[in-house]
């Protein structure tokens, strides 16, 4: 019987998350983390923000961004602890905690973005 390894699937999720977060996050954090707090740009009012997040395409994009970014983090974090800090004896624990957090976070994202509409 062929043993199936989860590594290719995890790499695809890592790769998709890296691509999506690279494309979208710099602009988003520039606005929310810097431009709005420092008063360079007036932040959207509540009704405007709620209206934007009621859009199904925006919600779908946010779900993909959040979920895939979390899987990107989980994969890279696990390998960095393994190669960088050489924490090899805890490999299984680190894997369960990282991917587990990504699964929980994705579920939470689906739940919240379902409600926001």
């Amino acid at each position: 019987m062929i043993k199936r390894h989860p590594e290719p699937l995890l790499w695809v999720l890592f790769s998709a998350g890296g691509m999506l977060s690279g494309m979208l996050m710099p602009a988003l954090i520039l606005m929310f983390g810097i431009a709005y707090p420092l008063g360079w740009v007036t932040p959207p009012r509540y009704e405007q923000m709620a209206g934007l997040m009621a859009n199904p395409i925006v919600r779908l994009a946010l779900f993909g961004l959040i979920a895939l970014s979390l899987f990107h983090w989980a994969h890279r974090f696990r390998h960095t602890l393994y190669d960088g800090l050489q924490i090899k004896h805890l490999n299984e624990v680190v894997a369960v905690v990282s991917y587990g957090a990504a699964v929980v976070g994705s579920g939470l994202a689906a739940y919240l973005l379902w409600q926001v509409g």
């Binding site: 494309m23 996050m25 710099p26 983390g33 959040i66 970014s69 890279r76 960088g84 409600q115």
Partner: protein, 141 residues
């Protein structure tokens, strides 16, 4: 040949590989090693900003007051510091990820292979377009 049957000539255990133990701080030895670890550590702001977006969504669900509180929290000095550092690391993440893309993405047009430089330019163009769309959407909201 007879000696082969004697248990004292070999051990049942797998021999240990000869591997020099590496210092835990090996990545401080060279700038290129440090850049590698810095690139790997960009996964932390990626996760942080995913959590930030979840908190924003929760605030929008809750109430206008929760949204105002979230925006005020974002404007606290510590949060600005965290997000400025995160922004720099996220830009580094985007650049290093797109630079690696031509090695993972082999595209053929007919019989000719699309050069890696063109694939890289395509990623940068898509990044610029995506950023414009994000800022335009937020500005229009």
């Amino acid at each position: 040949m007879q000696a082969m049957h004697h248990g004292d000539l070999y051990t049942a255990y797998h021999p240990r590989w000869l591997r020099q133990p590496k210092n835990t701080y090996w990545w401080l030895e060279k700038p290129s090693y440090f850049a590698f670890i810095l690139r790997e550590l960009t996964c932390l702001p990626v996760a942080w900003f995913a959590v930030y977006l979840l908190l924003l969504t929760q605030a929008v669900i809750d109430s206008p007051a929760a949204y105002a509180q979230f925006m005020a929290w974002s404007a606290s000095p510590w949060m600005i510091l965290v997000n400025v550092v995160s922004f720099a690391l996220l830009v580094f993440h985007a650049i290093t990820f797109f630079v690696a893309a031509p090695q993972a993405l082999i595209v053929h047009l007919g019989r000719t292979r699309v050069p890696g430089s063109l694939i890289l330019i395509g990623h940068y163009a898509a990044w610029a377009a995506a950023s414009v769309v994000v800022i335009w959407l937020l500005g229009r909201a």
